[in-house]
Amino acid sequence: MSEIIIQIDGREIAADEGMTVLEAAQKAGISIPTLCYLETLEPYGACRLCSVEVEVRGRTNLVAACLYPVEKDLIVRTRTEKVDRIRKVILELLLAHAPEARGLKMQEYAEEYGADKNRYEKEPSFCIQCGLCVRYCAEIKKKSAICFVNKGPSREIQFIPEIASKECWNCTECFPLCPTEYLQGVFVLTKALAFPSTPMGPSAE
């Protein structure tokens, strides 16, 4: 695999072809915040917290570092005024769901970017829909016992009772992946098993 030299925050960094900006940064010890990223899963690009500015042939764009591929002479800026502002708002929007998120990352990031957990009206839900549980179950466990239902702001996670009743209690590997609250997964799973006929999807609106 050929080596590519890129620049991140003014530093020259050697990256491998096919790497993403996030991977290249991590390799060089430069930290970029992420919430929906997990090394063992396919990049998902949903939380947008890893947004960085990239400059290619004089043009600057805001991109998600977890998905953007490195290329020759790429210039990456991970802490511009714009990037910081965007991360702060994203965190504030998410803290409206999980103001007391137990996952260390959320609180650390909130502090780092000065995100105010009371900026937006609270939403009584712990879930920030990073999809780690959903994707872990599908990609690693190959069970797809948990999925997303519905769309837009009504989108939520849901265990599929028929699969979950067979698979989940012996596994529970997705619970600790949750960046906000271990109990969230337990609650959604218990609800699905206790009330398996609860309608899901758009008809539940």
């Binding site: 917290l49 998905l67 989108r155």
Partner: protein, 561 residues
């Protein structure tokens, strides 16, 4: 049906079809567009069938149920050829009289013709009605003269001559060059040059199968021109698509449309079958050696399906979520193969460009926006319907001349383009020309061409709240900026309309907008704030009145005032 194996055979067939048509034979053209069907045109059509039988006129009169005539406001519409007498708001009870007096007796029935609401002037012929008078109906004009279920009708209008010209007289590069020189820009909303897009797909991944796609999703509320055109004249779009496929080097096309437009689906399926039987589609088209097939795909009922990468995921059989990867679908689209997507109206422009050349085409319109544009005119307007005008036509002309102005003596307040992802401009900018770039500069991109006219009784806060409420059911909800930004914006606006707006709300809305517009995953997400931004630009005082004075200047928000 005989298979056609050469240009000569095509022209022979066309001659035969034309020989059977007597231009002086009376023909009753009844609009079977969606709006007219909604106002009872099916009954009008069957009344005509009965009456023709009753008066034993079967052999002497033609009756066709056509595509949209455009003047939806006054439907059901009936046009009697060859005189082109246009009757509006026709009921089944009017039918016997129309047949006896007009079709047979050649008399105009005064009560059914157009009367100008201001001057009282009557107009018996379609071309004299202000709504139609100055339109340039290059794309949609034929719809009212043909039966969309008949390929012979399309051939009689010169159909598929552009295809035969492209296949036998031009190289794929020549076709591409013609489209590029014509500067045809995508009609779906982006206004991106179609020729460059075609070229990208043509040159991408040599040796790999390429796809061409018609985006007939048209999910925006207030947009109905693509449906009108496609349902009324499916072969026009199909011909454009086949020509495009030839230029790009594709042998497989897809038509992506809605699950909830059964008439379109029916006409489309029929058109594909007929084109195949004639050898205008399928293997060895017209004996040219070029082969091309088309498949129709239906959406799953969500607006984001119309986003190019989500649409392609949907065709692959996956949920219609936009692809997050930094790739261009024209290079890496369906199954990672080069895929060129254009909307209905863009494809519909192709045959005329090939037939009449880029010089003719680029003589229509403005410097950077060429050709005509279909506009869905709706809202607080006297004449709602589908209008086709040259690019560069002033908005004033569209609203007041074609549209007939604002009903009930109200004042025009604003014009909104592009639905829930578009923008609003105030009445003071009414002399702006219809032009991709001019409108874009004002913060109201033309979008797909849906023009919503708003009168003085419109509350901008409520208007934007409605748009966001619509989007809340239509976004996939995957990425945080779009899903959460929308949720909070909707809450803030709802509070404002209920008298609970707070100091700082506008700034908060602007802050969210800044993030959504920059950081959301797909183009839908990056546009959900656009109506708000344009409304704040031109109507900020209205938002302030809701917050500071707990007052709705337009008297719309019931919980205020």
């Amino acid at each position: 049906m005989p298979r056609i194996n050469s240009t000569a055979e095509l022209e022979e067939l066309r001659k035969g079809i034309l020989a059977q048509k007597d231009p002086n034979k009376p023909c009753i053209s009844v609009c079977a567009g969606i709006a007219c069907l909604g106002s009872g045109n099916a009954q009008v059509i069957s009344a005509f069938e009965e009456e023709i039988k009753k008066q034993s006129l079967d052999a002497k009169v033609d009756l066709i149920a056509t595509g949209c005539h455009g003047f939806c406001e006054k439907g059901p519409i009936v046009v009697i050829y060859p005189e082109e007498i246009c009757y509006l708001e026709v009921t089944p009870e009017d039918v016997p009289e129309i047949v006896s007096q007009t079709v047979v007796g050649k008399q105009v029935i005064d009560r059914l013709i157009y009367t100008d609401p201001n001057t009282g002037t009557k107009a018996a012929h379609q071309s004299e009605i202000p709504f139609y008078k100055n339109q340039s109906r290059l794309l949609i004009g034929n719809s009212q003269k043909i039966n969309p279920k008949s390929i012979d009708d399309y051939l009689a209008m010169g159909g598929y001559s552009a295809l035969s010209k492209a296949l036998f007289e031009m190289s794929p590069e020549g076709v591409l060059d013609e489209i590029k020189k014509a500067n045809l820009r995508g009609r779906g909303g982006g206004g991106f040059p179609a020729g460059s897009k075609w070229e990208t797909t043509r040159n991408a991944q040599p040796g790999v199968e390429k796809y061409v796609i018609v985006n007939a999703h048209e999910g925006e509320p207030g947009a109905f021109m693509d449906r009108a055109l496609f349902t009324g004249n499916p072969h026009l779009i199909l011909e454009g698509l086949i020509i495009g496929a030839y230029a790009i080097g594709s042998h497989q096309g897809f038509i992506y449309t809605r699950h909830d437009t059964p008439v379109l689906r029916k006409n489309l399926d029929l058109a594909l079958t007929q084109a195949k039987e004639y050898g205008l589609l399928g293997d060895n088209i017209l004996g040219s050696g070029f082969s091309f097939n088309v498949e129709v795909h239906l959406d799953v009922g969500i607006f984001v399906s119309g986003e190019s990468s989500a649409l392609m995921r949907s065709i692959e059989g996956m949920p219609p979520e936009p692809r997050p990867k930094y790739i261009r679908t024209s290079v890496t689209g369906i199954w990672d193969r080069p895929s060129n997507l254009n909307n209905v109206e863009t494809w519909a422009n192709v045959p005329q460009i090939i037939n009449q050349g880029y010089e003719w085409y680029s003589s229509i319109g403005t410097e950077r926006s060429k050709g005509t544009k279909l506009i869905s005119l709706s809202g607080n307007i006297v004449n709602s319907g589908v209008v086709e005008v040259p690019m560069g036509t002033s908005l004033r002309e569209i609203v007041f001349d074609f549209g007939g102005g604002i009903p009930n003596g109200k004042k025009l307040k604003a014009i909104h383009f592009g639905g829930p992802m578009g923008g609003t401009i105030p009445e003071s900018l009414i002399d702006t020309p219809l032009d991709f770039d001019e409108l874009s500069k004002l913060g109201a991109s033309l979008g797909a061409g849906d023009m919503l006219v708003l009168d003085e009784d419109t509350c901008m806060v409520e208007m934007d709240r409605l748009f966001l409420d619509f989007l809340a059911g239509e976004s996939c909800g995957k990425c945080v900026p779009c899903r959460e930004g929308m949720r909070q914006m909707l809450k803030i606006l709802t509070n404002m309309t209920q008298g609970e707006g707070k100091e700082g709300d506008i700034e908060l809305l602007e802050e969210i907008s800044g993030v959504v517009g920059e950081a959301a995953l797909c183009s839908l997400g990056r546009s959900i704030h656009k109506p708000l931004i344009s409304m704040l630009k031109y109507f900020r005082d209205e938002f302030e009145a809701h917050i500071k004075e707990k007052r709705c200047p337009a008297n719309v928000c019931k919980e205020l005032n």
